[in-house]
Assembly symmetry: C2
């Protein structure tokens, strides 16, 4: 899988090349922070404004001081420079000023940056589609944490531990109340009667940058896109199904829990609309 290229080439903490972070950091103690994973084809971060928007919203939701966007842009540019890369940015509330959950108000947020090599999107996965499973784990619902990309990711770790078949690219996750939510590391879209639908993420899940991009592309391509409550029955009735993430673009799903699906015209139209923004650009799907 293109998602596991190994260890980072370089790392920074608070703008300084470093491999270590404070053992007092509240990110470590409580998952008290947020992250973004950005694709940087040709050494330039794409969809930067959308990533920074989500990070800012996450900081505001958690009451973490928003780092200076210009500082973040500079540091991200430095990390991304020098060829295709994936850059992971972690922003935490910072080193704890005292023991316990309480926030003193004196915390200074930490910034961790990791640069990984990147071979670009997996073109074969975009062309031929991927197989997915349905996770046994059900996501817990908490509107206070829904939508943002916070550091409390044990559910995703546990769901990813459920399989090690390399032929399975992703698992779809449902919430405890039976709503279809997302993949472990992607958002999900389905087509029903020619209409594009993606789960509302008001109780759990991460509102992905590529989900946002695809929503905009759909509007431009004359495809009606709705964010709504979806369940297993909707999944079973889907005519087309695809996954999105900032790193992988649009991946058609050709099999979900053993059921075969064709790659349909809406998926292909959106892939074509997205292609110019991907690593491989215009030639992506030919």
């Amino acid at each position: 899988m293109s998602g596991f290229p190994g260890l980072p080439e370089r790392t920074w903490v608070d703008g300084v090349p470093r491999a270590d972070a404070s053992v007092l950091d509240r990110g470590l103690h409580y998952g008290d922070g947020l992250f973004e994973t950005l694709a940087a084809p040709g050494g330039a971060v794409r969809f930067l404004a959308l990533h920074l928007k989500r990070l800012t919203q996450g900081c505001e939701r958690l009451g973490i001081a928003v780092p200076d966007p210009e500082l973040l842009r500079r540091e991200l540019a430095t990390a991304a420079a020098g060829g295709d890369a994936i850059v992971k940015l972690i922003v935490t509330r910072g080193p704890a000023r005292a023991r316990g959950y309480a926030v003193s108000g004196d915390e200074t947020p930490s910034r961790m940056l990791l640069r990984y090599p990147w071979a670009g999107e997996d073109r074969e996965a975009m062309r031929a589609g991927v197989r997915v499973r349905i996770a046994d784990l059900k996501l817990a619902e908490n509107p206070m944490l829904a939508g943002i990309k916070h550091l409390n990711r044990l559910e995703q770790v546990l769901a990813r531990l459920e399989w090690d078949d390399a032929q399975i690219a992703e698992a779809l996750l449902f919430s405890g109340s039976g709503a279809l939510v997302s993949g472990t590391m992607s958002n999900v879209f389905l087509v029903q009667g020619g209409r594009l639908r993606t789960p509302r993420l008001d109780r759990c899940g991460v509102a992905g940058v590529m989900r946002e991009v695809v929503g905009s592309l759909a509007a431009g391509a004359g495809v009606d896109c709705e964010r709504c409550a979806l369940d297993l029955e909707d999944l079973n009735r889907a005519e087309e199904l695809f996954l999105t993430s900032a790193l992988t673009g649009i991946r058609p799903v050709v099999e979900v829990a053993g059921r075969r699906l064709a790659i349909g015209p809406v998926t292909r139209r959106l892939q074509a609309a997205l292609a110019p923004q991907l690593r491989h650009g215009e030639g992506g799907l030919s």
Copy 2:
């Protein structure tokens, strides 16, 4: 509050005196780990076996290799030595071997240890009781994460951010489905018709070491103790109410969300039974 004595006196990572941890640690990236906060009156960790039992169960639930218990005992003894202390132990799955949620199987768990000064339990809080509020935040329910003391603690951070009145010692938390669960950093017991009851923690919450100790003491003191589903009505009908934690012992609740409560005979009987195991020992409540 005795819970916030400031910064640690000393810290260790993997047994070595250090102030930093790897920026790749999965504890930081995903909250992929567990912790214990241990009281060490007179420089010796108390309830060690119970703490290690819970840590082991947590590791097994998350599929993290359990660190050698003898190694942990030695390192905890070193951290605790030299007078009253609170020792916090974090065990994570270790530095990530690759990007993404997947576990390679090659991870080596990390051990972080922090030693804080400790003045002992707050005797006044034990004698006169504490005031508590009810959190607005509702805990998400996930049986896969319930009971263990994992590092995904954003809910506790957010619930603790709801108040800054120093007269309020704790907030009681309910789950999304309306079950009474715990405090942000304590377990809760109530007395109804002379019977002791504490929430079952099969959908969320942390099964505290002091909750376990009090359950055993109750049996020895002829008090019937039941772990069961409890809700707001049960809380409203409670004749006695108290909080427990490994650091604070038993704290009677004298006010919950504005309603006054008397400190009752069951609470006092259990406090007396616990006193010999506390920092101030036999004289604790006189």
